[in-house]
C-alpha cells in the first residue's frame, strides 16, 4: 500500500519515520501522523497529495484523516514554497513594533505582490515569481519581548529593523541574545544560568551546576512524599488558569492500573533544560512510565536541544530502564506541534498528540486525569510549572512556599512587550513586583514623551486594564487578616489573585504595554484576527463569534462602523464566554468585552454611521397579527419627508 504512490521515498526518510512511529504505543500509531508530516515536509518542502496517501497508508489510516491534519495545522503546507521561506509574526506585540511595515518592505525587496488575504486562512503563502522567496504572515512566534520578529527558513530573527531588509536577508544566523545580568528586582530560579558566559545546553554544563541531584533525591523518596511536597509548595499552574499543581497530581490514584501519562505542555515558551529533570521527578511521583513533551512547531531549535538533552540523559541513565538503579523505567519523547494555538489547551493537546485535529474535549467526562491520552489517566503540566518541581524538591515544599505571597507562591517568568524601552523576560517572585515597578524600573519605562494608556497583563486573552482606573483589591496581611485597599494600576502586584481581583488575570505572564499613541480599535482588531484565525472551529459560539467580532472591528477600522457596533461586540462576547467547550471562548471574548467596556469613547468614535435598515422589513409574529390596527400614513404627508424634501436632501 505504502508504495502505491508515485513519490520516491528515500530509505533514510523511511527509517526516520519508523523511528518516529516507535515512540508511540503500537495500538496508537495514529499519534505518529504529525511527526511523519513534519518529516515529509522537511524532506519534500511541502505535503503533496501523494504524501497524504503515503502517510495514511503507512499508519493504516484513511487519507481524510491526514488531510484533516494538514489543513488544521498552519505549519503544514500543501504547496511548494520559495527557496527561502519567510514567516513574519503579525500578532499584537510585533504589529505594534512594526511588523506590517516589515512585511511591506520585505515584499518590496524580494519582489512579491502579496494578495490581500480576502478569504482568511486559505493558502496564506505568496511566492516570488523567480521562486527564490516566499512569505507569509503567521500568528505569534512567542518572542514578543524582542518584537518585531520573523523566521527566515528555520532561523528566528529578533528585533528586526524594517529598514535594513538587505542585511536581514544576507545575514543568515540567529541573533538571539540573552540578558546576562538579572535586574535587582528579579529572583532567578529557573533562569539562574541563562546568559552566563560559560553556559551551554549540554549535560556537562548542567551537571557542573548540580543538575539531576534532585532527581537522585526524589528517587529515594516515596511517591506520596513528593506529591505532598508539591502540594505544600502551593505551586500553581503557569499555563494560564493557575490551577493548583499538587491538587491536579492528587487526582491520579496511587493504585491506578492503567498506564499513566505525563505531558509537558511546551506549546509556548522555552525556558531551558531544567524541565527535563522536573519531568523525570514528576513521572516518578505519578508513576508515569511515559512522558511526552509537546513543543511548539515553531521551535525547531528548542526541539533539537531537547532531543539532545534526552539522549544525554539516557546515556547517564537518568532516563530509560531502571533509572539510577531505582527500578523505575521512564521514557520521554518530544512531540512537535505545528502552529495551532488551540493545542495549548490540555485536551486539545491530547487530541493533537493522538494524531487528530486539536479539538478540545468536553469536560466532563474527559478530564485528563481520568480519561486523558489514549483514555488513560494523564497529567498535563505547563513546562514552566514542571521546571519548578526540581526547585521544590531542592528547597522543600514549605520553604518554596515562602517565595512570593500566600496562595501565590514561587517565581514566575513574565514577558514584557509593547511600548516600553527595554522589553524582555524577567523572573520575579510572584507578587513581589507591582505593575509599576515592572514597567518603569525593570522594563525601562515608556518611550520618551509617552503616557501609559493600557496594559494587558496576562497574554492577549487577559482583560485589558486602563491607566487611570482605580482598583479596589483585598490584600492578605502577614497576620492573616485581609484589608481592602484602593490603588492605581501601577500599584497592582503581579500575582494570580491580585490580577484576578482587578478584573483580569495573570494568565500566561505576557504583559503587553500600550501607550497613548495606540488606537484601541486597531489593537482589538489585531487581537480579534488572532483569535478568529486560531479558533479550532469545533463549537459554534467561538467558531462563529470570533470571526464575526473580527469582521466588525475590521469594518470599524475601515470607516464603516455603525452606532450599534460597540453594543453588538459586547453581546457577541457575552454569547461566547462561558458557553464553549474550552477556555478559548473566554480567551477570544474577554479582549473584546474589556476593550469596548474600558475605552467606550474610542469605539463610539469609530461607530458613527446609522444602522442600515433591515431588508426586507422584519416583524415579530405579534406585530404581524396586529398589523391591521397599525395606522398607515401616506408617505407625502410624513412631515419628516417633507422637511427633507425642502432641504433638498432627497
Amino acid at each position: 500500500m505504502a508504495d502505491s504512490t508515485s513519490t520516491d521515498v528515500p530509505a533514510e526518510l523511511k527509517r526516520k519515520m519508523d523511528e518516529a512511529i516507535s515512540r508511540y504505543p503500537k495500538e496508537h500509531r495514529r499519534s505518529a501522523a504529525m511527526p511523519l508530516l513534519h518529516l515529509w515536509q522537511e524532506h519534500f518542502g511541502f505535503i503533496s497529495d501523494d504524501g497524504v496517501l503515503w502517510i495514511a497508508a503507512k499508519l493504516g489510516l484513511q487519507p481524510i484523516n491526514i488531510t484533516e491534519l494538514v489543513t488544521f495545522y498552519p505549519m503544514f503546507r500543501q504547496k511548494p514554497v520559495g527557496k527561502t521561506h519567510i514567516r513574519v509574526c503579525r500578532t499584537l506585540s510585533c504589529a505594534m513594533a512594526g511588523s506590517y511595515q516589515l512585511m511591506e518592505n520585505l515584499c518590496a525587496t524580494i519582489g512579491i505582490e502579496r494578495r490581500p488575504h480576502g478569504d482568511g486562512m486559505h493558502n496564506p503563502i505568496s511566492v516570488s515569481a523567480d521562486g527564490n522567496f516566499s512569505i507569509e504572515f503567521v500568528e505569534c512566534l512567542a518572542s514578543c519581548g524582542t518584537a518585531p520578529i520573523c523566521m527566515i527558513g528555520e532561523t528566528l530573527r529578533e528585533n528586526v529593523d524594517a529598514d535594513s531588509i538587505a542585511d536581514l536577508l544576507r545575514n543568515q544566523t540567529s541573533n538571539i541574545k540573552h540578558r546576562t545580568s538579572p535586574h535587582p528586582l528579579e529572583h532567578r530560579l529557573i533562569f539562574k544560568n541563562i546568559g552566563r558566559e560559560d553556559w551551554t545546553t549540554d549535560i556537562d554544563c548542567y551537571l557542573r551546576d548540580g543538575g539531576y541531584e534532585e532527581l537522585k533525591q526524589a528517587l529515594a523518596m516515596s511517591r506520596s512524599e513528593i506529591v505532598d511536597k508539591v502540594k505544600n509548595s502551593g505551586l500553581r499552574g503557569r499555563g494560564g488558569a493557575g490551577f493548583s499543581c499538587g491538587l491536579k497530581w492528587s487526582f491520579i490514584k496511587p493504585d491506578e492500573k492503567r498506564p499513566v501519562y505525563l505531558i509537558c505542555n511546551a506549546d509556548e515558551s522555552e525556558p531551558g533544560t531544567f524541565k527535563l529533570e522536573g519531568i523525570l521527578i514528576s513521572c516518578f511521583a505519578l508513576n508515569a512510565r511515559t512522558a511526552y513533551i509537546y513543543i511548539r512547531g515553531e521551535f525547531p531549535e528548542g526541539a533539537k536541544i531537547l532531543e539532545h538533552a534526552i539522549e544525554e540523559a539516557r546515556q547517564h541513565n537518568f532516563l530509560g530502564r531502571n533509572i539510577l538503579g531505582s527500578g523505575f523505567d521512564v521514557e520521554v519523547y518530544i512531540h512537535r506541534g505545528a502552529g495551532a494555538y488551540i493545542c495549548g489547551e490540555e485536551t486539545g493537546l491530547i487530541e493533537s498528540l493522538e494524531g487528530k485535529r486539536g479539538y478540545p474535549r468536553i469536560k466532563p467526562p474527559y478530564f485528563p486525569a481520568v480519561l486523558g491520552l489514549y483514555m488513560c489517566p494523564t497529567i498535563v503540566n505547563n513546562v514552566e510549572t514542571l521546571c519548578h518541581v526540581k526547585h521544590i524538591i531542592a528547597m522543600g515544599g514549605v520553604n518554596y512556599a515562602r517565595l512570593g505571597r500566600p496562595n501565590n507562591t514561587g517565581t514566575r517568568i513574565v514577558c514584557v512587550s509593547g511600548d516600553v524601552q527595554r522589553p524582555g523576560y524577567f523572573e520575579i517572585e510572584v507578587g513581589a513586583v507591582t505593575i509599576g515597578q515592572l514597567i518603569y524600573e525593570m522594563a525601562g519605562g515608556l518611550k520618551p514623551g509617552r503616557k501609559l494608556k493600557a496594559i494587558i497583563p496576562g497574554g492577549s486573552s487577559a482583560k485589558v486594564l486602563r491607566a487611570g482606573e482605580r482598583f479596589k483589591l483585598k490584600q492578605k496581611q502577614p497576620d492573616g487578616a485581609s484589608i481592602e485597599r484602593e490603588m492605581s494600576i501601577d500599584e497592582i502586584p503581579m500575582d494570580f489573585d491580585s490580577l484576578a481581583a482587578a478584573g483580569s488575570m495573570a494568565g500566561s505572564g505576557g504583559v503587553i504595554v500600550l501607550d497613548d499613541s495606540r488606537d484601541m480599535v486597531w489593537a482589538l482588531n489585531n487581537i480579534n484576527e488572532f483569535y478568529a484565525h486560531e479558533s479550532c472551529g469545533q463549537c459554534t459560539p467561538c467558531r462563529e463569534g470570533s470571526l464575526w467580532m473580527q469582521k466588525i472591528t475590521d469594518r470599524m477600522l475601515r470607516g464603516g462602523g455603525v452606532t450599534e457596533d460597540p453594543k453588538t461586540l459586547k453581546s457577541i462576547g457575552g454569547n461566547i464566554a462561558g458557553r464553549t467547550i474550552c477556555a478559548f471562548g473566554e480567551a477570544c471574548a474577554w479582549p473584546t468585552q474589556s476593550f469596548v467596556e474600558k475605552f467606550p469613547e474610542e469605539f463610539a468614535a469609530r461607530a458613527q454611521k446609522p444602522v442600515p435598515p433591515a431588508l426586507p422589513p422584519e416583524y415579530t409574529p405579534e406585530e404581524l397579527i396586529e398589523a391591521e390596527s397599525i395606522q398607515t400614513v401616506p408617505m407625502a404627508h410624513d412631515p419628516g419627508w417633507e422637511k427633507a424634501g425642502a432641504a433638498g436632501i432627497i
Binding site: 488544521f72 495551532a340 478568529a532
Partner: protein
C-alpha cells in the same frame, strides 16, 4: 433500551424545571428532560452516536444538592433537597443524571444561550430556505421559531464555501448550509465503519468533505442525509423532487432482505418519492441501507404489468379480472394434484402465503415451495437472506424441511413432464433452473407478478399484482419479529392486491369460504399457526411483535443455495451443448 427494564436499575431523583422526577441510572440529562416534557434543542447530539458536545444548543442550567455541615443535603420547605446552581451553563447531551441534581431548561440564562447559538449558526448560513430540500424538516428552521429571534444583527459578508459538492453516488453536499455538527462523520466512523468524511481547514472556514478521489459510497451513505439536521447533506435521488410538507408519510417496512428495517414511505398522489428509516431498536435502530431504501424504483418501471392477460390463439391479450380468474381456475382444474405445482415467494406476506397454501389444498397438490434468495450480508443491517419473509414461509407453509428445499424436486418434476400446470407467484423462473422452452410447453402456466419478464411472456394467464408499498400485510423478519406492511400508494392500472387475487382464485377453483378483508385472513392464520394466536393487525403495532425465538427454528441450510446454483450450472451446460448440436 434503558426504560425496558427499569426495575433492575436504581432510580435517581432529578429536579427538572422545578418538578422532581425519577430516572434510571445511565439516563442522559437531555433524554431525561425530554421524558419530563422539557424538550432541549440539539443539533450535534444523536442518541445512537457519541456526544462531541460541539453545537452548544443543549445548554442548560445545572445544580447539585446543597450540602450542610454534616455533608448531607439540606432540605427546603417542601422536604426536597435544595440546589446549588452552577454559574455557567452546561451541555445536557454528554452527562448522565445523578442523584439530586437540578436542571433548568427554560430559565432566562438558558434562553439567552439558545438565542446566542441560533444567531451564531445563522450568520454564515445562506438562508436559502425557499429552494432548500430540508425546508419543512429543518432543525434550524424549527429552532429558529422556538428558540431564536426574528432579526439579524449581522452586517458582514458571509463565509463562502463549496456548494453542490458531490460526496458520493447518492449524496450531495452544500457546505454553506453545514453547521459542522459532525453527525455524518461520526455515523460513518461508528455505524458504517467507513471513515470517509472529515473536516478540513479551521475556525469558521471549516469545511466538511471527503478526501479528493474518495467517495461517500458505502451502503449506508443516505443515513447521513437523514441525520443531517440541516440542508447540507441531501439525497441526490430526492433532491429538488418534492417539498417535504406535501409528502404523505406511511409507516411500513423494507422488504429487500430479512432484516425488515422499519421505514416511512413518503408519497404524494400515488407516487413514491422517498423511503426513510423509522426507529426500532429491536430491528434497525435508526438506520437502513441504501440498497433497501432506493429499492422501490422498479415499481414505476415500464415493464410493470398493468392488465390481466390470457393467452388466446397463442398470444397474450388483455382481459378483465373476472375472465382472467375464471380462466386460471378452469385451466388449473383440468389436472390432478400430482400434476400441479405452485412456486410462491419469500417476498409474499404471511396472508398471501396462507392463501397460497389454501389454494394448494383446494387443488390437492403437495408441490409448493418458495425460492430462496441469498446474497452477501454485512454485519450492520443487510442480511444474507434477501427474502423478507422466509420465517413466515417456514411457519405457514408448515413443511418439515427448510423453505426452498423442495424447489429442486419441483423443477425436476416440471422438466420430466410430470407437472402439467405450474402457478408461479411473485417469482422469477430463472431461479428454477427450468429452461424457458420447457415452461412454454406447459399446458397451464399461471404467472402472478409485478413486472413482466421472459417467463410471463410464456404464461397462459398473467395476473398483475402489487408491490410492497401498495398493500397491507405482515411478515416475520429474520429474527422472528412479526411486522406490518402498510399501503402507501394505490397500485397502478388494473394491478390488484395479491391477497384478493388469491382469494378469488381459491373461490373460483371451488374452495374456501368468504374472506372479506385481509384482517379476516390474518385471523384465520391465528387459528392454525399457534405463534399468531391472539394477534391482530392492530396488535402488531408500528414496531412489531417478537413471535419466534430463533432457537426454535431449524438451522438454515447453506447447501440449498449451492444445490440450486449447481442445478442452474448444469442446466446452462446442457443448453450450451444443445445449441452447439443444433
Amino acid at each position: 433500551m434503558s426504560d425496558q427494564n427499569p426495575s433492575s436499575q436504581p432510580m435517581l431523583n432529578v429536579q427538572i424545571d422545578s418538578v422532581w422526577h425519577q430516572f434510571p441510572k445511565g439516563t442522559r440529562i437531555i433524554e431525561a428532560c425530554e421524558q419530563a416534557g422539557s424538550y432541549v434543542p440539539r443539533y450535534c447530539y444523536h442518541k445512537k452516536l457519541s456526544s462531541p458536545g460541539n453545537c452548544r444548543m443543549c445548554l442548560i442550567e445545572m445544580g447539585f444538592p446543597r450540602l450542610g455541615p454534616d455533608r448531607k443535603s439540606e432540605l427546603g420547605a417542601d422536604g426536597k433537597p435544595l440546589i446549588n446552581w452552577m454559574p455557567r451553563p452546561q451541555i445536557s447531551c454528554a452527562q448522565d443524571v445523578a442523584e439530586g441534581i437540578g436542571v433548568r431548561t427554560n430559565s432566562p440564562l438558558v434562553k439567552e444561550c439558545q438565542r446566542g447559538v441560533m444567531e451564531f449558526l445563522l450568520i454564515n448560513h445562506p438562508l436559502d430556505c425557499p429552494i432548500c430540500d430540508q425546508a419543512g424538516e429543518c432543525r434550524l428552521q424549527e429552532f429558529s421559531v422556538d428558540f431564536g429571534t426574528s432579526q439579524s444583527r449581522f452586517l458582514e459578508h458571509k463565509v463562502k464555501k463549496p456548494k453542490n459538492a458531490v460526496l458520493g453516488p447518492r449524496v450531495t453536499l452544500d457546505d454553506e448550509r453545514c453547521i459542522l455538527c459532525s453527525r455524518c462523520i461520526r455515523f460513518c466512523q461508528e455505524i458504517a465503519h467507513d471513515d470517509v468524511l472529515g473536516f478540513v481547514d479551521r475556525g469558521s472556514y471549516t469545511v466538511l468533505t471527503a478526501h479528493p478521489g474518495k467517495e461517500l459510497e458505502n451502503n449506508y451513505s443516505l443515513n447521513t442525509v437523514d441525520i443531517c439536521p440541516v440542508g447540507a447533506l441531501t439525497s441526490t435521488d430526492f433532491r429538488f423532487k418534492m417539498r417535504v410538507w406535501f409528502l404523505k408519510e406511511t409507516k411500513s417496512i423494507c422488504t429487500s432482505c430479512a432484516t425488515g428495517c422499519n421505514t416511512i414511505i413518503g408519497t404524494r398522489e400515488d407516487v413514491i418519492y422517498r423511503q426513510t428509516p423509522r426507529e426500532n431498536d429491536a430491528v434497525n435502530s435508526c438506520w437502513m441501507c441504501d440498497y433497501g431504501r432506493l429499492n422501490f424504483k422498479y415499481l414505476e418501471a415500464k415493464k410493470r404489468l398493468l392488465e390481466p392477460q390470457i393467452r388466446r390463439e397463442g398470444k397474450l391479450v388483455h382481459t378483465d379480472w373476472s375472465t382472467a380468474i375464471a380462466q386460471a381456475a378452469l385451466q388449473l382444474k383440468q389436472f390432478s394434484g400430482t400434476e400441479i405445482a405452485i412456486i410462491a415467494s419469500g417476498r409474499m406476506t404471511n396472508e398471501e402465503l396462507w392463501l397460497t397454501v389454501q389454494l394448494a389444498q383446494s387443488l390437492g397438490t403437495h408441490y409448493i415451495d418458495i425460492v430462496p434468495r441469498r446474497g452477501r450480508g454485512d454485519d450492520i443491517l443487510l442480511s444474507e437472506d434477501r427474502n423478507p419473509n422466509t420465517n413466515g414461509a417456514r411457519l405457514i407453509l408448515g413443511s418439515a424441511s427448510e423453505p426452498g428445499a423442495n424447489l429442486l424436486a419441483i423443477a425436476d418434476a416440471v422438466k420430466s413432464g410430470q407437472i402439467k400446470a405450474l402457478a408461479i407467484l411473485k417469482e422469477n423462473t430463472m431461479h428454477l433452473g427450468v429452461p424457458l422452452e420447457r415452461l412454454a410447453q406447459l399446458p397451464v402456466f399461471i404467472a402472478m407478478n409485478i413486472l413482466s419478464n421472459e417467463a410471463t411472456e410464456k404464461a397462459t394467464v398473467v395476473l398483475p399484482a402489487c408491490g410492497f408499498v401498495e398493500k397491507r400485510g405482515s411478515m416475520i423478519n429474520g429474527k422472528g419479529r412479526l411486522q406490518r406492511l402498510n399501503r402507501a400508494v394505490r397500485p397502478p392500472g388494473n394491478a390488484r392486491d395479491d391477497w384478493e387475487i388469491l382469494r378469488d382464485l381459491i373461490q373460483a377453483v371451488g374452495g374456501g369460504d368468504s374472506l372479506l378483508s385481509i384482517d379476516d385472513v390474518f385471523r384465520r392464520i391465528g387459528e392454525t399457526v399457534p405463534q399468531f394466536a391472539g394477534l391482530t393487525f392492530s396488535k402488531i403495532g408500528d414496531l412489531g411483535v417478537q413471535i419466534l425465538q430463533m432457537e426454535e427454528l431449524p438451522p438454515t441450510h447453506p447447501s440449498d443455495e449451492e444445490k440450486i446454483e449447481q442445478a442452474v450450472a448444469i442446466q446452462a451446460r446442457r443448453r450450451a451443448v444443445r445449441s452447439e448440436s443444433t
